[in-house]
């Protein structure tokens, strides 16, 4: 059975479920909004300061919001024991992983698109560097969070404290990517340095962790 067809099947199912329940989108959106607004009131930064700290605040808000969504994305498969049916099906396990990762990626991208205008207003932001590079960093950074998050949330779904386990595993692993995202974003916002090295780091990180996740996912899925 072709991988592409399986990915499309899982993706369509996840998008349909999310469209009907809106569980992940709602919780992610409100969580990210809350963090952005609370930090804006807490620091009340000037335009210059905003450019220096906005990258960090934005990505941390998204990291926390993503965790909320990731926990829910696999919880769907646990409800009614559906995961057992998926384990029995002969479709390639990586199709399930990629379908879910792409679905999560799209959810986070939608939230980013909705949060960005609020972020710009609250932090009085104006990009000095290249906006195209900012979009590239957003895509690479989001994939880095989501690919690891989807993998590690699959690992932690059968643990007793899965909501706690996921951030405990994901945060340390995501640190290099988070560093790349924050510094690349800050460089682009301030226009002081080229973010190229950080973008390269994100590309390498994405490729390495996507490959590792694909190699190991079947073992995670079939583990008791």
């Amino acid at each position: 059975m072709s991988l592409v067809r399986t990915v499309a099947l899982h993706l369509r199912k996840d998008l349909r479920l999310e469209w009907r329940s809106k569980d992940a989108a709602n919780s992610m959106l409100f969580f990210a909004l809350l963090v952005v607004v609370v930090f804006a009131f807490a620091f009340d930064p000037l335009a210059e300061e905003s450019r220096l700290i906005a990258g960090g605040i934005g990505w941390v808000a998204l990291l926390f919001a993503t965790i909320v969504a990731l926990n829910q994305s696999w919880a769907r498969e646990l409800q009614n024991g559906v995961l057992d049916a998926l384990r029995l099906a002969p479709a390639p396990p990586n199709g399930l992983f990629l379908g879910k990762t792409i679905a999560n990626f799209l959810f986070v991208v939608v939230v980013e698109a909705l949060i960005t205008p609020v972020f710009v207003v609250f932090y009085n932001l104006r990009v000095i560097g290249s906006p195209a590079q900012l979009v590239l960093v957003a895509i690479l950074g989001t994939w880095a969070l989501v690919v690891n998050g989807t993998f590690f949330s699959a690992m932690s779904i059968r643990t007793r404290n899965r909501e706690l386990m996921l951030p405990l595993i994901l945060f340390p692993i995501s640190l290099p990517a988070l560093l790349g995202m924050v510094l690349a974003t800050t460089n682009i916002l301030t226009g002081e340095r080229q973010p190229t090295d950080w973008i390269k780091l994100l590309v390498v990180y994405d490729v390495v962790f996507t490959m590792v996740s694909l190699l190991l996912f079947e073992s995670v899925l079939t583990a008791e």
């Binding site: 059975m1 769907r76 409800q79 009614n80 029995l88 002969p90 008791e224």
Partner: protein
């Protein structure tokens, strides 16, 4: 074939040195009190759980994972997405079985008596009995050679139970092996070929079912160890 199968959860043995040969094309009723190990046994046969000791050979293969496409499994939980409709569920799971010959979702829904239910009704709006019947349809989606059912008659009304049991009998007559965990012996009495009773993780009794026609005896000729 189950050969010396044990399953340990910590120090607790859910199954203890269990051996059995089950013949293809038969309908087995699996009996036993709660905690006897019935569900654990079914999960091991399905390849969802590995034995701590011993070996299992399913559909002629020692690698159960390699033949899961030929196994239909219905668990305690219904293995369905609540937010999808019956047809969406069946079509999704059918898609996961690729090129394997499959029953159509309309045909399956008719078989389990759900053909006339509103197409847009989500599974979350179904009664427990309807969910059970839909779960059976899902388990049959890949026209399985081995059908494993864990208490399929729970919360199902008497008329539907009779229809489900007759359906299982038909599947067996077409050559499928069916293993059913149930506490409702009378529900399967008309179609079961053999009853297997478990106690404390081991088989304590095997007895023929009431239905022992000569035709089914012939159909039950062992093909090696097929289960």
């Amino acid at each position: 074939m189950l050969d010396g199968v044990s399953k340990l959860f910590g120090r607790f043995a859910a199954l203890h040195d269990l051996s059995a040969i089950l013949v293809s094309g038969q309908l087995y009723g699996l009996l036993g009190e709660n905690g006897a190990g019935k569900t654990t046994l079914l999960r091991i046969i399905a390849g969802l759980s590995r034995p701590s000791r011993g070996s299992v050979r399913v559909l002629g293969s020692p690698d159960v994972r390699g033949v899961t496409a030929r196994i239909g499994y219905m668990a305690h939980s219904n293995l369905l997405y609540d937010e999808l409709t019956a047809r969406e569920n069946l079509e999704y799971f059918s898609g996961l079985y690729g090129s394997r010959p499959k029953a159509g979702s309309e045909e399956l829904l008719s078989l389990v008596g759900l053909g006339n239910v509103d197409r847009n009704r989500r599974v979350s709006q179904y009664s427990q009995g309807m969910k059970q019947r839909l779960a059976l349809a899902r388990a049959m989606i890949s026209s399985p050679d081995l059908l494993l059912l864990d208490e399929p008659f729970s919360n199902v009304d008497a008329k539907s139970i009779a229809a489900m049991a007759a359906l299982l009998g038909q599947l067996r007559d077409r050559g499928a092996t069916v293993i059913v965990i149930t506490h409702q012996v009378e529900a399967l009495a008309a179609v079961a070929d053999e009853w297997i009773t478990l106690h404390a993780g081991t088989i304590v009794k095997r007895e023929s079912g009431s239905r022992r026609s000569s035709a089914s005896q012939q159909a039950a000729t062992p093909r090696g160890v097929e289960l």
